[in-house]
Symmetry: C2
Subunit: 376 residues, 2 copies
């Protein structure tokens, strides 16, 4: 195995938008993009056996370096054959670097150039995460794509804070690349810079000069408005190389995905379909449904006509019952449905791009989501 | 549809035990017996989508009248097409009568000849459950096999309490039969009588005279020892007609099933495989394993070699991780495994009976379970 197993093919750019249809090849198979990765934080997409994950149409999944390094521990994952073998997932895997979790989970993270020092959310023990250690952990996990350790800041933050974090992210990206040793794993860089377009451009340019095999846009979806996020995206994407995958981290709702695809993003991950599913919210062509709604009590219709997922073989009334009765199967089925919904949405987007009708497709979807003409 | 869709065929009785190989035909298909029914208390085998339930090898499932009548309500189940349609289960279903839940869930059940009055475990509201209402609910649920309402008492109880409950159970059985109106549902009687062999015999004889299409042994597994349970079983079974199914309610562990099969029981239900699975206990050919055990941390072996279930495609180390990280997938996978284990055990028992080697089979299984020679 060597890095030649990785390649990126850009097949087509939509005639009226920047939407791209591409394929990303990895040692564990190809990812047809634009693509959405379900999140398997602790080595499992919550509640779904791996066969059911595959059946949603997922091509690539994401594992969290921070969580897996605490439990069961990176060395244990390695002893169990790496993350692919441990999870039973033979497709591509991407692991994040822990940068976002330092930001989101740690009340008392201390970040210096050396790295981050923070307390475990499990037992409060002190943890040091340097760029080198993040790469080491991800090499133990054995993902196909590893991410550089980045410094994420809340939005809004003072300009000098955002600037410092961006500079540190670039220094850390170089150190990560220096530390990386696996031939069957590539490292994606992460563009930071908050909502400041000039910082985003500068960061993207400098990382581009470092010639990474893929680029992520990080530090978004952390408190800014959707419009602000899209502006940051619009500043960043034109600076990134066209012959590399572009990954928007931690985003988002179906509408966010289509907006980002139209601007040239290829890859996404987000907990929304599974987290919202566990909380009884289902995505459909008519917009989101709240399954606890009393009006579904005796509704014999499925969540979504024509959806092949296991949830849609049941009635809305049954799905509501499962949530009202606090049955595990409610979260399980709605997670399957929402992931299936995302995968079908992305598959349709890929078709629309090839047909040069992505913008019309996006408008149709937005109209459907706003129509609320089905069961609510 | 009419009652002619139901029939019972006794194929063979083991040469050295009372173990029976039989088939029970219902409007929703045949049940090869001895058989084990997974419990779908609230219309779901906890955590398992219905396709995965089918894949465990389950032929018939059990629904709980008490729970379903409280939530979502019998009329709602009927509006959703009945329990088969609601759950998406096209095989046979048996519903209990609520008798056991009156006993087990209700602190303040008041039982008179009219029926039981008790408080809902959900909202404390007063509920009246008479034999007639139990049948009405089960007709709304639309199970293939309904059970008569019975009066279950704790063991030990005073002789007159046990006697009274037995007499009431017989009176209620007659009233249930009087109330039953569906052609596509049969009603099984329930033998009570505590641990008193004479009471058990008397109850079985009088119910036999009433000519029910199937007979259950109830009121066991409620505090007595396994040996006491088997004695009560030995007293009862010879009195039951040989040309009707015999169902031992709420039992049990794998060893209990084999002991009961050897005495002539055909049908079982129990929450043990799913409840224990949710609590990290797995049944295997070497006896039960506790998955939280530290020694499995880096164990790459599967739970059970040759087991086709989704859990056994993973390592012990991964299964342990799921429980330590409190991931839903741990309970989900172990429920699948334990149900698969039970179904494979029963399938092997059916083979052994036909080959006149059930007793040897039972001994081999007991030796395996005691060997503890695999991972512990």
């Amino acid at each position: 195995m060597n890095k030649s197993a990785f390649s990126f093919q850009l097949h087509h750019v939509d005639a009226r938008s920047a939407a791209r249809r591409s394929t990303f090849h990895t040692p564990h198979g190809a990812v047809e993009m634009p693509a959405f990765m379900p999140v398997a934080t602790q080595g499992t997409v919550k509640g779904l056996d791996i066969g059911r994950v595959r059946e949603t149409g997922a091509q690539m999944v994401l594992g969290n370096t921070y969580h897996l390094s605490l439990r069961p521990g990176a060395e244990t994952v390695a002893a169990l054959g790496g993350l692919h073998a441990m999870m039973g997932w033979d497709g591509p895997i991407l692991t994040d670097s822990g940068g976002f979790q330092i930001f989101s989970l740690s009340q008392m993270a201390e970040i210096t150039d050396e790295g981050a020092r923070f307390r475990s959310h499990i037992d409060g023990s002190l943890i040091d995460l340097s760029p080198e250690r993040s790469v080491e952990i991800q090499e133990h996990l054995g993902s196909d794509v590893a991410m550089v350790l980045d410094h994420v800041v809340a939005l809004p933050s003072a300009p000098e804070v955002v600037h410092d974090a961006m500079e540190r992210t670039i220094r850390w990206a170089e150190r990560c690349r220096e530390a990386a040793s696996r031939d069957d794993q590539v490292l994606f860089a992460i563009v930071q810079g908050g909502l400041d377009a000039r910082l985003r451009v500068a960061c993207a340019e400098r990382l581009r000069a470092l010639d990474f095999p893929g680029y992520a846009i990080g530090g978004l979806s952390v408190g800014e408005t959707p419009a602000e996020m899209l502006e940051a995206l619009e500043a960043t994407l034109p600076v990134l190389p066209t012959d590399r995958p572009r990954y928007l981290m931690g985003v988002g709702r179906p509408e966010d995905l289509l907006e980002a695809i139209g601007r040239g993003v290829d890859l996404f991950d987000c907990v929304i379909p599974t987290r919202n599913g566990r909380n009884a919210l289902a995505f459909t062509e008519r917009g989101p449904l709240r399954l606890r709604n009393q009006q579904f009590q005796q509704d014999t219709r499925p969540l979504e006509e024509g959806c092949p997922c296991p949830a849609c073989r049941h009635s809305l009334g049954y799905l509501r019952h499962l949530f009202m009765a606090r049955e595990m199967l409610g979260p399980v089925l709605l997670s399957m449905h929402n992931l299936t919904y995302y995968q079908r949405l992305l598959a349709a987007a890929r078709e629309a791009i090839l047909a040069d009708r992505f913008e019309a497709f996006r408008r149709e979807k937005f109209e459907g989501w706003a129509s609320r003409d089905g069961p609510r």
